[in-house]
């Protein structure tokens, strides 16, 4: 592999690995080893499928789409130590426990939509491409998924400040 390409690939990996890793980790319920495998193979496939000259947004969309497809095909049980893999002070992990519980109760697509918008802050245009739905559908379904999640976790979340 030429040095220039290798540098470009490493840059893409370092820029997006955390976002994809976190997404897959929460999608499959905290199995770190499987998350690792899914992330590695998703990045490899996405890089193999596209050109290095394409826009980063296109690359990110593709790698996330592949990762979601692989996560959907992976059968895992939610683990209790999902929060241990987050790089946060323990004081901030309390409310997250409730959010995670609510997330795990959602179906896969709803969970993916909530995470794509809430965790990765993707635009609805990108979410629509990833989930292969129209932009308006992506908007409506995400709002519905958010509403379901809010209902599940109730008023457990309170402002920290």
């Amino acid at each position: 592999m030429p040095k220039r390409n290798e540098r470009r690939l490493k840059l893409l990996i370092s820029r997006y690995q955390q976002r994809v890793f976190a997404l897959v980790l929460h999608l499959i319920g905290g199995d770190r080893d499987k998350t690792y495998d899914i992330c590695a193979s998703s990045f490899a496939e996405a890089m193999q499928a596209g050109s290095l000259l394409e826009q980063e947004e296109v690359f990110l969309t593709r790698v996330i789409r592949i990762a979601i497809k692989k996560s959907r095909a992976t059968k895992t049980m939610p683990t209790s130590n999902e929060l241990d893999f987050l790089d946060l002070p323990s004081s901030e992990k309390g409310p997250l426990h409730i959010v995670l519980k609510g997330l795990q109760a959602l179906d896969f697509d709803a969970k993916a939509l909530v995470l794509l918008r809430g965790q990765l802050n993707l635009l609805y245009r990108q979410i629509a491409t990833i989930m292969r739905v129209s932009e308006s559908d992506a908007r409506i379904k995400t709002a519905q998924a958010h509403a379901r999640l809010r209902k599940m976790i109730g008023d457990d979340l309170t402002p920290e400040n």
Binding site: L86, V99, R117, A143, R150, I153, N161
Partner: protein, 184 residues
């Protein structure tokens, strides 16, 4: 979008009510401006909590594993492309067709030859049986024996056995002639 705008737009952002271009500007600003990013993160809300879920610790060797897989996957993909090239698919298709045609042809020829060959072997069996099993056949015994054989052969093969009967009857006449000659 500047830092003052972030404070104004924070609530719509948390409630996911910003237009797409405003959302993008808001997101880009808080990704660049550390102070605003910290401020937004400090506000407790569902969106904020979801955002915090993105703070996963990534294994240090993930990057090198991806690079390894990329090389490995590249080789496999190359091999796959080599196997699935257009010319090879056509060649494989022709070869498979030839093998199937050969197989079908052989079976067809065997099916065509089978009744004749079997017919001959049955005639020889009938001859043997007539010669060796009937020691002193009377006319009626021989006819009944041949009739039985005809029925068996017809049932087994599902074919007309007139030829066999003719052969067997002429054989029977030969035997009778030979016996008469012996007696003389």
């Amino acid at each position: 979008m500047n830092c003052a705008d972030i404070k104004k737009k924070l609530q719509p952002f948390l409630d996911d009510l910003l237009a797409e271009d405003e959302f993008k500007a808001f997101r880009d600003h808080i990704n660049v401006c550390g102070k605003c990013g910290k401020y937004v993160r400090s506000i407790g809300s569902l969106s904020n909590q979801l955002w915090k879920l993105g703070k996963a610790r990534v294994p240090e060797d993930l990057s090198s594993t991806i690079m390894y897989k990329l090389d490995h996957h590249g080789q496999k993909a190359h091999l796959f492309k080599y196997i699935l090239s257009k010319k090879r698919i056509i060649a494989g298709f022709i070869l498979a067709s030839l093998i199937i045609a050969l197989f079908v042809g052989i079976n067809y020829l065997r099916a065509r030859q089978w009744p004749r060959r079997d017919d001959t072997s049955i005639v020889s069996i009938v001859r043997t049986e007539v010669i060796h099993k009937i020691e002193s056949p009377t006319e009626s015994e021989t006819r009944s024996f041949i009739k039985q054989l005809e029925t068996i052969v017809a049932n087994k093969l599902g074919i007309a056995v007139n030829g066999i009967t003719t052969n067997v009857e002429s054989e029977k006449e030969n035997i009778v002639d030979e016996e008469e000659r012996d007696r003389d």
